[in-house]
């Protein structure tokens, strides 16, 4: 029997899921080792394999979701990058698009520019948008620029020239000139990283890539080595923000694709579970310690956005007001995020209103009940007070909670000043946190023209199943699903995706004037790149699939929609029909009398595994699953209407397939599902819990 391992790194814990060919799954949760994450990973793997006598050689694949790239950007610990631009455009990177992500904020601070002006240098050259070379590259000037950057000691060079999306010849020549001086210095060309129109977006994307290349390359090399020493020589694959996986070499060259790898894995997992359970409409809901994330899955498919702002902070208005963080134009699963999690701090503001988050107690000191010195009550403290979380059974009993301290903090800081009973105040916090998280769910549903009541809520993450049912009730949703291993679900999701590489080329033409020969040539070029990348990862022509897409818009519109292309021959007519339909769905109208234009061509190169990546059935042996919960009943409070109930506490396996009425609590190694009175829970296929909401 062979195994595949999913490893998801978070700020506090590293989650691991081991999946055998027969659908047997083991899980583990170990402390992360931020000084060198690979150490924690290898220890976690050894901890599961050794006692079971599993030969590391039987590990077929390791799939990884990592925050290494994101952290390097957020903590400004990336490489020292030099940037070469066209004369007149030295400041493009710093000027950005001018916009602010926050209204009325006089204290707003622009993100630090990743390349300071002194290492941004210009060369004389100019290519027009038609591809015509107006001014040839001044090679002597380029040499001087390169010498200056090398003398300054840069770790990597990014090159972004105006209109290089049309023709990268000057950028390539600059790389040759760098090579004459230094054989190994990483050089990122905008015409290769993102041959797409708009100079700021292309420059920023190229610079971010150069900024994290050395960090990610180094990390993946260390991890590969550490796995080898453990006896695992099978390929290491890294999750991408777009929902596909990629090999170590590709991830080291284009690390901008792995920035949001953890959250993407959760959505991919959610999509597969929805498919297995035959559900067409699902909203995924992932609630952790500091944030809650939501995404929409329809017929097993999720939406992707073409860009992200790394480190823009959690700001729902950010979906309207762009401008924060570091702009990266790569496809990423559309995930909305709000600052509400178990660690979110509860306070009363100057006007006397009860506020929850977005400040978080984090991992240190954490909630008051963790007894690590935290003073501010949090959402988790309230969930303990309400009896939803067991003081004795978090992480399978690995973490004991000080309920008394949570009670004192809530009583003195919140309930007392508000003149409320302890349980009413704690329930209020639970409800206010739900109100905030409802905004994330709306952002991916009603703001996209979908009615959330037509969707089931698929909840995971350490705190997702604690809040899912009350949250769904507040939005009049009718069904909640809690998948197996819900507390480490993203690590399971890592095991599902196929290998993918995404490519884009700007191809600005009127739709009806798109020349088939030119299009074929553009796709062939991307296909060649994809074929090469897949070959490195061991996929032959027979195991490779290529998906063609085009970004279209009505003339003068400022945003595009991506449509699939089956063939070049009948492209304009078919693409037009699909585009009109997509426009109708996204924006509520289409206009037959308007001209459409192509902006970009896209290609997804996909390596297909020989065996299915999603098991037909799943048998979970989670770390503490075998041990029973600490008590079989517990008092829990469900709001003024229902009051306190002596509530049964079950293991997942004990939940009848025929269903059982709430109130009840399903307690597991890595998460807790709360089922209030009036709702009914049943164990279904794939060990998923289905909760039907009463009334």
């Amino acid at each position: 029997m062979s195994w595949r391992i999913g490893v998801d790194i978070g700020g506090t814990f590293t989650d691991l899921v081991f999946l055998a060919d027969d659908g047997t799954a083991e899980t583990a949760k170990v402390l992360s080792t931020p000084d060198d994450y690979s150490r924690g990973i290898v220890e976690g793997i050894a901890q599961v394999l050794k006692p079971r006598g599993v030969d590391p050689a039987t590990v077929r694949e390791v799939l990884h979701g990592t925050t290494v790239a994101t952290n390097a950007i957020l903590e400004h610990k990336g490489a020292k990058v030099g940037l070469i631009t066209t004369e007149g455009f030295r400041d493009t990177l710093e000027i950005r698009r001018l916009r602010m992500p926050q209204l009325y904020d006089l204290n707003y601070v622009k993100p630090l520019t990743l390349v300071p002006r002194r290492w941004r240098t210009e060369v004389v050259e100019r290519i027009l948008h038609t591809g015509e070379v107006l001014v040839p590259l001044d090679e002597a000037g380029a040499r001087t620029a390169i010498d200056m950057l090398i003398a300054a000691g840069v770790d990597a060079i990014a090159v972004c020239l105006i209109n290089a999306y049309v023709d990268g010849r000057h950028e390539r020549r600059i790389r040759e000139l760098v090579r004459l001086r230094d054989q190994h210095l990483p050089v990122c060309l905008s015409s290769e990283i993102l041959p797409e129109i708009k100079e700021y977006e292309r420059t920023s994307t190229t610079v971010v890539n150069a900024y994290i290349v050395p960090v990610v390359e180094n990390y993946l090399r260390r991890l590969t080595q550490a796995l080898k020493e453990l006896g695992i020589a099978s390929p290491l694959m890294v999750m991408q923000s777009n929902g596909g996986a990629m090999g170590v070499q590709a991830a080291s060259e284009r690390p901008i694709h792995i920035i949001e790898s953890g959250p993407a894995a959760g959505v991919v997992g959610g999509a597969e579970v929805a498919r297995k359970l035959g559900l067409d409409n699902v909203l995924t809901f992932d609630m952790g310690g500091t944030t809650a994330k939501a995404s929409m899955v329809e017929k097993g498919r999720y939406d992707r956005l073409g860009e992200m702002d790394v480190g823009a902070g959690i700001n729902l208005a950010g979906r309207l007001l762009k401008g924060g963080g570091y702009h990266v134009r790569v496809p990423a699963i559309d995930i909305a995020e709000v600052g509400a999690g178990g660690g979110s701090i509860v306070r009363i503001d100057a006007g006397g209103a009860l506020k929850v988050g977005p400040d978080s107690a984090g991992a240190m000191p954490g909630p008051v009940c963790y007894d690590q010195g935290g003073q501010d009550p949090t959402v988790t403290d309230c969930n303990v007070i309400l009896g939803f979380l067991s003081p004795d059974y978090l992480v399978g009993g690995g973490l004991k909670l000080a309920r008394g301290k949570a009670v004192d903090a809530m009583q003195s800081r919140i309930a007392g000043p508000l003149g409320m009973s302890l349980e009413a105040a704690a329930w209020g916090v639970h409800v206010v946190a739900n109100a905030s998280m409802a905004r994330a769910l709306r952002a991916v549903s009603s703001e996209r023209g979908r009615d959330p009541r037509d969707y089931a809520l698929l909840a995971f993450g350490g705190n997702g199943p604690v809040h899912a049912v009350t949250l769904a009730q507040s939005m009049n949703m009718r069904r909640v699903l809690v998948p197996p291993v819900s507390g480490v679900f993203s690590a399971l999701g890592l095991l599902f995706p196929e290998t993918e590489h995404h490519y884009v080329r700007t191809f600005k033409r009127r739709l009806e004037a798109a020349d088939p020969a030119e299009m074929t040539a553009a796709f062939e070029q991307m296909r060649a790149e994809g074929r090469q990348a897949l070959a490195v990862e061991g996929y032959g022509e027979a195991d490779s699939r290529f998906e063609m897409q085009a970004d279209l818009r009505y003339l003068k519109e400022n945003s595009e929609l991506t449509v699939a292309i089956d063939g070049i021959g009948d492209f304009p007519a078919k693409a037009r029909a699909r585009f009109d339909q997509a426009h109708e769905q996204a924006y509520g109208y289409s206009s037959a009398d308007e001209q459409a234009e192509v902006v970009n061509l896209r290609l997804i190169a996909r390596g297909i595994s020989k065996v299915s990546r999603v098991p037909a059935a799943l048998t979970v042996h989670a770390g503490g699953q075998a041990k029973g919960p600490s008590a079989r009943h517990r008092r829990a409070y469900f709001g003024a209407e229902h009051g306190w109930h002596n509530t049964p506490v079950l293991r997942r396996a004990e939940v009848p397939r025929s269903g059982q009425a709430g109130p009840l609590i399903v307690e597991e190694y890595d998460s807790t599902t709360v089922v209030p009175p009036g709702c009914r829970v049943a164990l279904g296929d794939w060990q998923a819990l289905t909760i039907d909401i009463g009334r």
């Binding site: 000027i95 009325y104 208005a317 309207l320 709001g639 209030p676």
Partner: protein, 589 residues
């Protein structure tokens, strides 16, 4: 439905409201106003709505008080209530389910003709429970100049179609007449009617959401919470104002001119901080002007409310409760409260200057927070219009802005939109594919930030080479004669400038507002102003000057001349002794 979430406070069933339900309803109202905003973003047709976000959404209670505003344009804070007031005044009880009212009259519910406001009454059964409203800047509204933003009209009648508060939908039935009138009066009817339809869609989203809330909580209870939310914002705002130092704070700033009659225009303000409210009085401001930069009272008040809002905590809800704590007085017949039919189309420029003026006074109240004046509002508006060889027209229109002024504890951000308006720029590469232009330069101007302990943000250059045969080039710029002010001893930022370098090499300078024709190969060089400096220049740490010199934002010569910092050698370092001596000499005068 979902009764399990209904909450009671410990203080018993007699308490009308509890803080938890209040927070949940506040969240729901803001989310609803934002959902309306997303609906506009999704369904609107025009660039001005989709990209410049020049629209706002708002929800009102039955009495016409603002209960929530969408996250849109700060300059519109306070521009929405006048529309609802105008409709209530005009139609009284003659409003019905399915009605939608429209107005764009700057003197009766709007603030200039391109801003069309739709107002939809919301009913639960027979009972009026609130109003759902959407303001949107239309791409064109007829009149003598396309776009409806021209600064050189001299009476309102030149500026386009004027719609007083009117019934656009009667019990769900669209007014064929009004739609036809609009269609026949604007240059781009498909865009304008498309955008109005998107406003209608957003009003309906707001209506549906308000009804759901009223059903869930019950009308009486819901209304009680709306009042409680406004009372809460009022209490919050008054408590924060109470913490400010009482007194009257004066400030004066200027516009270079109206482009018709020479001479600067004075904006004068007195901001009085009382125990629990703020009074803003614009007495002493110049009379209304010939050119179309007059700002009607509603717009002046709106710009003032947005400015004052920025010195209060970010989590203060934007509702009528906050408005109750701020009173705005403007003498009639001034540029900030003109009489009809004074032209108002380009009042945006004056709005930016109102904010600069009010912020100058607020800086005395919150010296720990308010920065020196920036060049971060679109003071320069540039348009180029003409025809290609094949007879097809082209129109290029761009509003340009640069940087922030230095703040009390940091340098002014180089290249960032101001907080009064949230504008973006146009990528050079996009511009080149769509217009007969080549962008030759878009970059910082060294030594242009006002010197001070905290440097003002840098000015920016935008150089365009014109590549078609011939066109008309129009500029509406400002901050040429009166640059952005410094504070606490900081120097003003550099002035703006516009020059044309003709294809034959001759250089032309023009006034801040002008119109001329351009030919192939002519280069248009627009220089924006720089931000003002903050604090005494002698207090600037020499190490910061060195950093700016290394980054080429300040030249070696300016380090010496403007900052008294002597930098020498390779790599460059601060000569501490020479700097101390130089600064001592300056201090002795």
């Amino acid at each position: 439905m979902a009764q399990s979430l209904v909450l009671e406070t410990a203080s018993g069933p007699h308490a009308a409201t509890d803080p938890i339900t209040m927070e949940v309803i506040q969240n729901a109202l803001v989310a609803l106003a934002d959902e309306m905003a997303f609906t506009v973003a999704r369904t609107a047709r025009s660039f001005v709505l989709k990209e410049a976000l020049d629209y706002s959404t708002a929800l009102f209670d039955a009495g016409g008080a603002l209960v929530a505003q969408g996250t849109c344009l700060p300059l519109h804070l306070g521009a929405m209530p006048v529309a609802v007031e105008a409709v209530m005044r005009e139609f009284g009880n003659d409003v019905h389910p399915g009605d939608i009212f429209a107005t764009n009259d700057p003197y009766d519910g709007s603030t200039h003709l391109p801003d069309v406001v739709l107002v939809k009454p919301v009913f639960l059964g027979e009972r009026l429970i609130g109003w759902s409203t959407v303001l949107a800047h239309q791409t064109d509204i007829g009149g003598r100049v396309a776009g409806g933003n021209a600064s050189d009209s001299t009476e309102l009648y030149q500026e386009g179609l004027r719609i007083p508060p009117t019934r656009l939908y009667d019990r769900g039935e669209a007014s064929h007449t009004l739609f036809r009138i609009i269609e026949r009066n604007v240059r781009v009817p498909s865009l304008v009617l498309g955008d109005i339809r998107s406003q209608v869609a957003a009003c309906s989203i707001g209506e549906r959401g308000l009804i759901e809330l009223a059903k869930r909580y019950g009308i009486e209870r819901f209304e009680a919470y709306c009042q409680a939310l406004m009372d809460y914002a009022e209490r919050f705002a008054r408590a924060e104002i109470g913490k400010l130092a009482k007194g009257v704070y004066h400030f004066t700033d200027y516009l270079d001119g109206d482009g018709i009659v020479p001479g600067k225009i004075t904006l004068q303000v007195a901001v009085e901080v009382l125990a629990d409210r703020i009074r803003v009085d614009f007495a002493g401001t110049s009379p209304q002007v010939k050119g179309a930069i007059n700002s009607v009272y509603a717009f002046t008040r709106s710009a003032t409310l947005a400015s004052v809002r920025s010195i209060l905590p970010l989590d203060l809800p934007n509702n009528a409760g906050y408005f109750r704590a701020v009173e705005v007085t403007v003498p009639e017949g001034t540029i900030l409260n003109p009489r009809s039919p004074a032209p108002v189309a380009a009042r945006g420029l004056t709005g930016f200057r109102i904010a600069d003026t009010v912020m100058g006074a607020l800086a005395q109240i919150r010296p720990d927070l308010v920065p020196a004046c920036g060049s971060n509002s679109p003071d320069a508006g540039v348009s180029i219009g003409g025809y290609h060889k094949d007879g097809t027209p082209f129109v290029y229109l761009e509003f340009l802005l640069a940087s922030w002024g230095g703040g009390p504890n940091r340098d002014g951000a180089d290249a960032l939109t101001g907080m009064i308006i949230n504008y973006s720029n146009t990528p050079a590469e996009l511009l080149e594919t769509e217009q007969p232009l080549v962008v030759e330069r878009y970059a910082f101007v060294p030594d242009s930030g006002g010197a001070g302990r905290w440097r003002g943000g840098l000015a920016m250059d935008r150089h365009l080479r014109f590549t078609a045969d011939e066109a008309i080039f129009q500029v509406r710029s400002d901050r040429r004669d009166i640059p952005p002010y410094g504070l606490a001893g900081g120097a003003p930022g550099a002035s703006s400038d516009v020059t044309i370098r003709r294809a034959d090499g001759t250089e032309e300078r023009h006034p801040a507002k002008f119109l001329t024709s351009v030919r192939k190969g002519d280069r248009l060089r627009i220089r924006l102003a720089g931000g003002g400096g903050y604090g005494k220049v002698a207090e600037r740490e020499p190490a910061r000057v060195l950093e700016d010199v290394l980054d080429g934002k300040v030249s070696l010569a300016a380090a010496d001349r403007d900052y008294g910092v002597i930098i020498r050698g390779t790599p460059p370092t601060v000569d501490a002794a020479a700097t101390a001596a130089r600064r001592a000499r300056t201090a002795q005068g």
